[in-house]
Point group: D2
Chain length 347, copies 4
């Protein structure tokens, strides 16, 4: 089969290669990929930053966002059948550690992530354990099925707060931030403040999917605007997807006393934090988030996709579509910042 | 001043009388009523049913849903000023009992309700304690300000469940049921099943404010429809506003294992309940609800009213408007069942 | 191997038989049973009541409470090794249904229970899936390891309420009720009221494991005593293990406004319930409970067993010990009501 | 009356003066102080550190922990009577701001604290609003009634976590840390690790009130000990009372994935924090805490005081008793670090 393989431990270093179709063990499911989408993590692997250098062992078929059709199931598989249209949760959990046995499979202490620690989805076929299969609603367009991994991040983060009927600030408006804006507005957030830095394309996208205010922290008086719109109260909840300590600082500043701060971003440097003022006296709750609840979050996504306005928003967030063999173009688009989600169709 | 007074302990028995403007004690606020609306409780008082016979002492100025302008404040009042446009929470809490001191003022063990236990809002003026005043957003139409008492019931009941992204059945579609439908759809419920008995007017109203399915338990196969739409799972949450044991029975039947049943209705007869099957083996949670959280629910309403679609829904739910002196017509409309909320304007 | 088998569809009808050692499939673990204990469910099977007649297919090796040593593991098993000392969670979950994928494996929609739906633990060997194995702390006495199934019921029920520092009534003081009393007192319940009917043996046992009040609903003024001890407030939480509608009625009566009622019992008849008075106006929460959370509850038990006083309590609750071949004596003791837990040692 | 007054804006600067008995306004209650105790905050005021210099306006009667007898009530007071034995919650809340109306009176946006912002309890009489009065159980020794302010901090912090049956580390073992240890052990924490720096007196005190491990971060391998005792899992919850960024760092290190960190301490310098590693990837929850829930926490304390072992622990934590006129000795004892709580008796 054809696959995009990180072959060299260097920036770029990705080749379209002919590789064997992966084996499906007794507990595994073999899937023919129909759509794959590009995650920020894939950009890190492509660009070969310090995280990628430490984590990734080339050669690797990367990619972990996809949807496709089951073509074969292992002998032990009971709940998945050939012909079904599925997506995959990328965290392969051991099922037995403390976290797995306490409803936190998504932070399994022995996690392997496909597309990171083993062969992924930028390929014609992918093999994943039965437990990682998600059955898609057949009426859902395949490209929406493919983006459930980042959407799940957004849903997980948003639902870690009591956002409904409240004022919420979203820090960072890449694709996940834009998805968070839409989740919030479709689920009854009162005022949503989407805050980017200087990327007008994405500020416009946040606005297009419902942000009441789409602001640039470079040029707008973000704190003044939020305080005015909330009559001096501040935002009740903060959804952080930026991975910037400056954004965290701003977020804690505009958050009201007793508010909740859900933090999904990955930070490249440590933060200097006045715990007394920003956490203790503020009676703040700060929650670190990663992955998606397995499978609470996926059920929430299925519920959301039944809401027509939400489905439309997600279509808007997919701004670019490519053929699979246009991988380099797709990656360049994603890296340009002038895009929402970028998806590749395999046929 | 003019007021509608339950003067006789009998059905009807309501007269427009000239009575003294109420006193405002040191902790009280005197309000000139601009809009008052009619609650199901007012219908009970009017019809003089067994509940009313036991609770109400005639003569009584009744009515407890209103909005108006502050005209005078008592000497101890610190946070309310003359000229402000306010509504009133009808539960006068003692502030000191176990419930009051544990965030359950709305079920204060010594509650008095204005319009039930003391003079109410079907009058030109009403006096209430400062603690019961809610400051309205000046941009909110007065008649929407008046209906926050029943809307608060709906919001309190809905928010007692984990409804967002879930499938929800609303049992009973009087004004509070219709409000619950709108709250649910504006806050991200996936599929909402609104279930009435045979009142087509109200089935249509539930549909108009967003119900995905508006059904009659008399003529529709409610269980079959819900099971089909949820792929055999059933509803995740049940919002009960009907006060009918048959509705509760149906609700427990269509609720999925592990679901939550929030119960607001008042029941005229006891229920026969198979606890093993319907509660224990079902891993069900049943929550009794009354009143509105003071003032969490009011803040949620303020947040909702900032959502344009929600505001429009509430306007649709107010189906009839009368002058204050048309009280008998307003009451007759409300009693006909061919209405949503019925409001009276005082000038 | 030797096993106690329900051979005849009639009361008693249990024989010690020589049967084949069970197969261990690829995902299974074969365990040599060291201790087995008798559950109320086993009494139902023995007595062949209507529940047993409907559910049980003779011949069946019954029993589901046990501890033993792993002697063999299937080819797919990764986290269990021969020689380990383990217990078993009796609910075999499918892992894929809505409940399994939403942290409710214990109410899996396709559950099979060993000792009920397939061969159980009143035998020298039992085979269970790897996922159902619980690794015991090697320092824990084997007979304490055996009683984690009913203890898990008690812990699950108690932890469904906000009991710490609160006043709690336990309805029903069979072994699970006594365990609940101990869990409550070891975890900071303020006053615990243990309420039986007329079995003095068990009232004494409840007292021995820490009940502040151990009462008979036949001879004590339970409501008067609770109201006096709580200064008229009532119990904050109710733990129901009796399976008696009269007990539920009493429990709702003595529960304070805003309280939580956790219900584990299985009821032989329906209840007549005044929903308005006992649920709605009381702002009550009622939770149906069954099984044990997989595996949150098991981790809680492990934490409890590290508390010396708790361990001592559990030893007191095991009142009778028999050899395996004394099954009929053990069962007679359990049926007499003059016991706590009854355990059988296999060597 | 006699009162200890901070008369000079300098270290020490406290005099025993004759001052007028405070006025009791219409909503106030005048109390004759029987016992007062010394808080860390009082030490700050005495030592005149930078916090005190910014906040305190001399002359000030300080002290905010006390118990006494009501001698007079204002004309509006309805729920407090002369002769009652009471304590006082030191946060005077406005009752009307967002926080007050959302169950967060303890972080009222307009809080005044008696003994800090207005006359306090190091005096023969104190006047406080009715809403700040707590009725003590008459059977409770007066000096235990006096220490409910710091005990409330401990209870509030502990109950912000899911500590029961779990492993918990308490960082900082001054009086509040020692109280937290006792609350945890009386409420079912499995293993409690109490961690001080080098004050052996307080390490011994933590041990005396039940810590399973009482450790010095200076001389013990705290991380190694916790990891070993928890089989490599780490502590489930962290209770921080130290106000030291080094302690926070240690706490995040020893906390398991998915754990909760409740933070009460006040920090004299900012912290450098690796948010990715310590919060996001750890799936951590961090909660800032201050004050006590009004009055949920006070009810919890009342429930705890009914537990004999807990009462004994609190008596152990009060290590020194003085006459009121021995204020300087009492303060010196508190400042020495060689004490638990220090109380003064007024007669």
């Amino acid at each position: 089969m054809r696959a995009f393989v990180k072959t060299k431990a260097e920036p770029g270093g990705t080749e379209l290669r002919e590789v064997p179709v992966p084996e499906a063990g007794p507990n595994d499911v073999l899937i023919k990929v129909k759509v794959a989408s590009i995650c920020g993590t894939d950009v890190h692997i492509y660009e070969w930053d310090s995280w990628a250098q430490n984590r990734i062992k080339a050669p690797l078929v990367y990619g972990h966002e996809f949807a496709g059709e089951v073509v074969k199931v292992g002998s032990n598989v009971q709940h998945v059948k050939a012909g079904e249209f599925v997506s995959g949760e990328c965290h392969i959990a051991c099922g037995h550690c403390f976290n797995c046995r306490n409803n936190m499979q998504h932070v399994c202490l022995n996690t392997k992530i496909f597309g990171v620690d083993r062969a992924g989805a930028f390929a014609e076929y992918i093999s994943i354990p039965e437990n990682n299969v998600w059955h898609n609603d057949p009426s859902l367009p395949p490209e929406l099925c493919s983006i459930q991994d980042p959407l799940g991040n957004a849903v997980h983060t948003v639902f870690a707060t009591d956002f409904a009927t409240r004022d919420v600030a979203v820090l960072g408006i890449g694709p996940i931030g834009a998805m968070a804006v839409s989740v919030l507005k479709n689920c009854g957030a009162s005022q949503v403040f989407a805050i980017g830095r200087k990327n007008q394309y994405r500020i416009d996208l946040a606005k297009a999917v419902g942000a009441d205010f789409a602001l640039s922290s470079n040029t707008d008086d973000v704190k003044g605007i939020i305080m005015k719109a909330t009559n001096g109260k501040g935002a009740d909840c903060i959804i952080e997807t930026a991975g910037s300590v400056e954004a965290v600082d701003l977020g804690l500043d505009v958050m009201r006393s007793g508010g909740t701060f859900a933090m999904l971003g990955v930070f490249s440097k440590p933060m200097t934090l006045d715990l007394s003022k920003k956490v203790v006296f503020k009676y703040a709750t700060i929650k670190g988030i990663n992955g998606r609840l397995m499978y609470d979050t996926w059920y929430r996504m299925a519920g959301l996709f039944r809401i027509p306005r939400f489905r439309e928003d997600m279509k808007k967030i997919i701004t670019h579509r490519f053929r699979f063999d246009e991988f380099e173009k797709a990656m360049a688009t994603m890296r340009s910042g002038q895009s929402g989600k970028v998806v590749m169709h395999l046929e």
